[in-house]
């Protein structure tokens, strides 16, 4: 009996403390927006969520932000929970594209709408109703910008890639992640169209993680030293892991005239603060800005308009007008839903402009 009481006491103490902390945040009578966020452990997603919280505070919106912790099932459960609580309008970073149609249908059944960011919703999800929006940057474009940066580098230093042959060490994000698939496709297609021969000397996932990337690079450098001329990573975390590995393995020429003191250029995506810092030290060569503020502000403004005016169709959000012409990446490849797509631009970040972001 004593034990039971003890267990209960501990549970009650822990739970009341934390439940109370949660419930104290809610107010009544204000505009309610639900945010379903796929995984707060990632820097980009965290920056996105922080900006949402800031915007909600500015507008006095009651924001209920849920972290799916990388689990589609949990995200669906969280959506159910919020709908039960009367939330109708949502900002969503989906955990998976394939689940977005189901989510949109549930929200529609509750009489609401949603704006999707970062991970693309399916065309079918946007077709559920006109108050379902894409507020995101097409991932293909990030890969295309990487390819352009690579092209500029090797056009300037053709001797580093004789006959336009690129021998790449390529660090992928989590396998099956839409960004992993599209960033890779964008990179390869653009490089080929620019006339390069693309060889992957090694290509493997490091799950977006800097330390896994460093480990992988250490192994590759032991196996493939002298056989590659370029390192590309699908995010900055992994790119910085690669930079560390190159430095500890002595692949440094200490000549910053080409923009990096490393023997080979390393290119990432995201433009995190760490990455910009590394560029400032002439280590990381370049990156691509994935605009967390732009994406979250656009998505939030759409959700806010829906919650206050009933619809956001046709409006300009965060200075971005709905897209008019289809692009090659879903869901903005379908003319029927193109007016529901808000394309937030990626931006290449090189020596020329990185200081603007610091």
């Amino acid at each position: 009996m004593k034990k039971m009481v003890a267990i209960l006491l501990v549970l009650a103490l822990v739970c009341t403390g934390i439940f109370a902390q949660g419930s104290s945040e809610s107010k009544s009578g204000s505009v309610k927006i639900g945010a379903l966020i796929r995984n707060l452990n990632e820097q980009f997603v965290k920056d996105y969520a922080d900006n949402l919280r800031k915007l909600a505070a500015e507008k006095g919106v009651e924001l209920n932000l849920q972290d799916a912790q990388g689990d589609v099932a949990r995200q669906l459960d969280q959506l159910n929970t919020l709908i039960t609580q009367g939330y109708k309008y949502f900002v969503i970073i989906p955990q998976d594209t394939s689940a977005t149609e189901q989510m949109a249908q549930q929200i529609k059944a509750a009489g609401g709408g949603a704006s999707f960011s970062n991970i693309q919703p399916s065309v079918e999800a946007l077709k559920v109703g006109k108050d379902f929006y894409l507020a995101s940057s097409p991932e293909l474009v990030a890969g295309q910008y990487q390819a352009q940066i690579i092209d500029e580098y090797f056009t300037k230093y053709p001797a580093k890639a004789p006959n336009k042959v690129l021998n790449i060490l390529y660090l992928q994000g989590q396998l099956g992640h839409p960004a992993q698939i599209s960033r890779e496709a964008g990179l390869i297609d653009t490089l080929k169209s620019l006339g390069y021969t693309v060889n992957f000397i090694a290509r493997d996932t490091a799950d977006w993680s800097p330390d896994k990337a460093q480990e992988k690079m250490d192994t590759w450098l032991a196996a493939h030293r002298g056989k590659f001329n370029l390192v590309v990573a699908q995010n900055d975390g992994m790119a910085l892991g690669a930079v560390e590995s190159l430095i500890t393995n002595g692949l440094v020429d200490n000549d910053p005239s080409d923009g990096t003191i490393l023997t080979f250029p390393v290119i990432g995506i995201d433009a995190t603060a760490d990455a910009l810092n590394s560029m400032d030290q002439n280590k990381l060569y370049a990156t691509v800005l994935q605009d967390s503020v732009g994406q979250s502000s656009t998505a939030f403004e759409l959700a806010y308009a829906m919650a206050t005016k009933g619809t956001a169709y046709g409006m300009t959000a965060w200075g971005i007008a709905p897209a008019k012409e289809v692009i090659s990446e879903a869901p903005a490849n379908d003319a029927a839903v193109i007016a529901q797509c808000y394309l937030v631009p990626f931006k290449p970040v090189t020596k020329a402009n990185y200081k603007d972001l610091m």
């Binding site: 039971m4 501990v10 549970l11 439940f19 419930s23 099932a73 459960d77 159910n80 998976d96 099956g176």
Partner: protein, 330 residues
């Protein structure tokens, strides 16, 4: 003998009682904090649906822990079986389908997934029972094998665009009661009958309590051990099917970490890590206690970082008392 049996019955009831009290206490706490809002039928329905797939994993690993084993491969085996099920249920006109252009009758994805789960169970069981590998290591290995097979089979892509008939398996309902809840009740009942009223079921308790004594009393320990992993594998196969049907997709992240959720749930539900002790009702209460904690925190908008913290504490507290209770017995 008779008094011993009575004693162990007493302990079993006591341990179950603790978990019930915890569950009801949490329920009360949550209803007070949300002024009754969290306990409306819609909310309860959400909770039951959310925990349904985990229930299958918990029933499987619950049986394994009763035999003093452990299974770390659950998450990736469920991921693999979900992918197998999904691959046979894709719309034939979906160009990225694994078997593009082909459609299969509804039983194919179910049978294929359950067979895949069963095979993994036999593999684990064989390594542990006849190969004498420690369960922790054997299932650690098969976890990685399952993950690898899943990536190879799906080429790391999402297996999506599933047909509506397949999705209805999990997404449908009988009147106001979702199908998933009905499946859980049926599965729990079958496992309960099996553990309580069949010879092999009672053997599991004997093996977990003292495998040497079980052997001396004529139990084929190896065969029974192998079978417990096999049965668990079948349950993981069903879990994978239901999960794919519920989500309308499977990918390499599906069910990741489910082993920890399931092990934590049955431990909270009074299934002892020392083996030989545990009930189906305890396992189910454990699942729904953990579910209630998740659900309650999500309902109240608690920061996910704190959610992890609370779950961690609860698991530690549960195991601490479990160890204290059974330390005396040994």
């Amino acid at each position: 003998m008779e008094t011993k049996k009575l004693l162990s019955d007493g302990k079993r009831i006591a341990s179950q009682y603790t978990t019930w009290v915890t569950f009801v206490g949490l329920l009360l706490l949550l209803s007070i904090l949300t002024k009754g809002n969290a306990l409306k039928w819609n909310s309860i329905r959400n909770l039951l649906i959310a925990e349904s797939v985990r229930s299958f994993a918990a029933l499987g690993v619950g049986m394994i822990i009763i035999t003093k084993g452990i299974d770390l491969s659950i998450g990736y085996v469920v991921c693999l079986t979900a992918s197998v099920a999904a691959s046979f249920a894709q719309n034939p006109d979906y160009s990225s389908a694994i078997y593009a252009g082909q459609s299969f009758p509804l039983f194919v994805p179910i049978v294929a997934a359950v067979a895949a789960g069963g095979l993994f169970g036999l593999f684990n069981g064989y390594l542990i029972a006849y190969g004498k590998l420690p369960p922790f290591i054997a299932t650690l290995g098969s976890m990685s094998i399952a993950k690898g097979l899943q990536l190879i089979y799906t080429k790391a892509a999402v297996v999506g665009s599933l047909n509506q008939n397949f999705k209805n398996i999990s997404q449908g309902s009988v009147g106001p009661v979702p199908n998933l809840i009905i499946y859980v009740i049926i599965a729990a009942f079958i496992v309960w009958v099996f553990l309580r009223h069949t010879r092999q079921g009672t053997h599991f308790y004997a093996i977990g309590g003292n495998s040497q004594a079980a052997r001396v009393s004529g139990i084929n320990v190896e065969r029974d051990l192998m079978m417990v992993y096999f049965y668990a594998g079948l349950l993981y196969g069903i879990a994978g099917t239901l999960l794919a049907s519920r989500l309308g997709l499977a990918n390499s992240l599906t069910a990741n970490g489910m082993e920890l959720d399931a092990i934590a749930a049955v431990t909270v539900g009074g299934v002892s890590q020392s083996g030989g002790v545990g009930t189906v009702s305890g396992m189910m209460i454990g699942v729904f206690t953990m579910g209630l904690i998740n659900y309650g925190m999500s309902f109240l908008g608690v920061d996910s970082y704190y959610q992890q913290l609370v779950k961690g504490f609860i698991i530690i507290v549960a195991v601490y008392f479990d160890m204290k209770k059974y330390a005396r017995r040994n």
